[in-house]
């Protein structure tokens, strides 16, 4: 039985480790400025915890086999423990764990502690059951007012976000169902939600932030590769949670300007 335990535990350990190392199912290629740092720290944590995982499971399997009661083996060692050993492995584990966290601190700080740079592309993202809408402030750089009484999800676009068209600043606001941003420029997001908590999740950008009703949450990221990226909802929001989806299209500055200009023109 000890041998079977060893074999099965080792097998489980090595098979699962294989798939981790082979990256058979893995994070999508990072496309934001933050991705490199996050992925690097991921790899560090991975390596450390991977070693611990394998070491612990291998030891468990080994001990299960080695110390099986074979009848003729010597009696078990009568030991209540070893305080010095306890101290050593406690210190080591604490240093390891706290060390990992502190290492990740600078990335977290750069992502979350500082506000967006001036000149960042501003996009207001609004989540509602079960769609995302993206509002651009237009040439005046100001977002127009919205009113909850004006919200009409069936109308799409401007009425979905409840845009108050009587506000002069709303005249040039563009509301779209697809999010366009220019590459290599910081994007400032203002996250809002109408009804329940949603979460704006772009795996390729290593970006996630809950959109909470009653709050307007400012976040930022910088896309560094053009392409089309899926946006998912990552907070249970009702029956349509699984199909609440958007597309983030990262394009060149020229294409972005053209797209925005075309949307502005449609409004006239």
């Amino acid at each position: 039985m000890g041998l079977v335990l060893l074999i099965v535990i080792w097998l489980i350990t090595f098979v699962s480790s294989y798939f981790f190392l082979a990256k058979t199912w893995w994070l999508p290629t990072g496309a934001s400025a933050a991705a490199a740092g996050i992925d690097h720290h991921f790899a560090t944590t991975y390596a450390v915890m991977g070693i611990v995982f394998v070491a612990a499971q291998v030891t468990l399997g080994l001990f299960a086999w080695k110390y099986r009661d074979g009848g003729s083996s010597s009696p078990a060692r009568y030991s209540h423990g070893n305080n010095r050993l306890e101290l050593i492995w406690t210190m080591l584990t604490a240093v390891l764990f706290i060390g990992l966290t502190l290492m990740s601190g600078s990335i977290w700080a750069s992502e979350r502690f500082r506000p967006a740079e001036p000149g960042a592309v501003q996009v207001e993202v609004t989540g509602m059951q079960f769609a995302w809408y993206f509002r651009y402030p237009g040439p005046d750089g100001k977002f127009g007012a919205t009113k909850p009484e004006l919200i009409d999800p069936t109308g799409g676009g401007e009425s979905a976000v409840g845009l108050d068209t009587t506000d002069p600043a709303s005249k040039d606001d563009v509301v779209a169902g697809t999010m366009y941003v220019p590459v290599n420029r910081e994007v400032e997001l203002i996250l809002r939600a109408h009804d329940v908590i949603h979460s704006f999740f772009v795996p390729a950008m290593r970006f996630k932030q809950d959109a909470v009703p009653g709050l307007a949450i400012h976040m930022h990221f910088t896309p560094i590769a053009t392409g089309d990226y899926d946006i998912f909802c990552a907070e249970l929001c009702g029956l349509g949670h699984y199909r609440m989806h958007g597309m983030l299209k990262v394009v060149s500055q020229e294409e972005y300007d053209k797209w925005l200009a075309a949307r502005e023109a449609e409004k006239q």
């Binding site: 612990a56 406690t90 249970l236 009702g238």
Partner: protein, 581 residues
Amino acid sequence: MATREFAAHESHAHAAPQGFIRKWVFSLDHKVIGLQYYFLALTAVFVGMFLSLLMRIHVIWPSVTLPLLGQIKPETYVSLLTMHGTIMVFFVLTTAPQGGFGNYFLPIQIGAADMAFPVINMLSFWVTFLAYLVMLAAFFVTGGAPLHGWTGYPPLSALQSAGPGEGLGADLWVISIALFCVGALMSALNFITTTLDMRAKGMTMMRMPLTCWAWFITAILGLLAFGVLLSAGILLLLDRNAGTSFYVPLVTVNGQLAGHKGGSPLLWQHLFWFFGHPEVYIAILPAMGLCSQLLSVFSRKPIFGYKAMVYAMLSIGLLGFMVWGHHMFMSGMSPYSAFAFSIMTMAIGVPSAIKTFNWLGTLWGSRIRFASPMLFAIGFVSLFVSGGISGPFLAQPTLDIPLHDTAFVTGHFHLIMGVASIFGIFAATYYWFPKMFGRMMNETLARVHFWFTFVGTYCIFMPMHYLGMAGQPRRYSQFTEFHYFDHLIPLNTFMTYAAFVTIAAQFIFVLNLFWSMKAGKKASDNPWEATTLEWTTATPPPHDNFGGHTPVVYNGPYEYSVPGAPSDHVMQTDPTIVAAH
């Protein structure tokens, strides 16, 4: 004598009750109450497993029509996962290890005749049972069961219009949880008072088995945490039914103003997780205590580092109240708070690691007997390691960004809280069955059960980590909408088939359980040759646990293979042990 006449409160708790109702229904005997809790959890776990079976089927075959149940709609899926989580966490993981085995064996292991307050003990079970009925009732009312997840975040859980099931079903869900809180608080009261005040002569705190320490610390966590959940639930009920706005800001659902303003969804999250994090330790600590116990018994060796184990459990308990924000890194909470919570969360990994080292240290240099309780104990260590290793990923907010609310989280908590704790329940059943029912369970069936469950649960939950890293969000009813998920379908399919096999294997356990009660091999008083007090008394224990005499304790609970002793185990009540070292 004078004092006896004065204190003529006849110890009615010690006279055996007569009649079916007093003996088996409204029993004051902690052993009967423990069994009542256990069987409640047993029915709940099969309900919970059935719900998860339907979930796994739907994920792979979204449009299949099932016999009797018809087609599972997306809203049904989310209701299933809500009820699965709620029933499993509350009525299985918070019920069987503590209310079930804790009730049965804490008094016996400390040498007491019953719990401190038998009437409150009885009431705590019936309140919990009522909570269970109310929870199940949610399935059958108009609109059905709620779909807001076991975590119940408002505004989704606060607004009737936010989805099907968020009407009466959601109200019943909140009421059930509130009742459960009351039952849990009553139970905690009993455990704490009993442990502090009813230990037998010589049973110092540091001679208690680690199971007793685990039940004691779990009860303290419960005492301090369930009150907070109760208050959160009351606020939610008021928001839902009295028009208050504790949690709900100005929102519109489908363009309709919902009639609230100014509330904070984050308030619920803070209150819920202040309870919710200690709750996961409530779910796992008894299993940790039992694992320590079983590794010692079945390797014929004292637990490695008893004091360290006690301090580790105490630290886990204390730190458990300081880490709740790690569930909220992406919630809109202050990023500075997030970092503070992160440090505390990594810190709590340290005592858990210590316990793992000590379990390995117990096995080192031992003589292992591979009885079924030991298989599950070894399995527990493996699962605890696997589930624990993914913790430090989630504990760092930087890495939580890609992983939060993905299948990675689901894999993490299922391995470390779900499966590990269930292994503790299985281990406890196989271990204490002889003492409770006077018979042995069938070892062959037990082994088959173990292997299928051990391998099966790894096959179901280890792949979730890969899926989560690949970006598969959790609580999605299907993955057919977007091509992004196409390459993840095969792995999901594999998991569903693994679930079929694993769930089927659980019937072997149930079969073994009930068959052995009737026809298992008769058990001696101490079939495992263990040292703790429950093995010094008759099988099953008499009504007052020790047949009229109070045990006197001379030794610690893990005196195995003592050099020079006549046998390889020394009972706690044995006064004749040769000097150890």
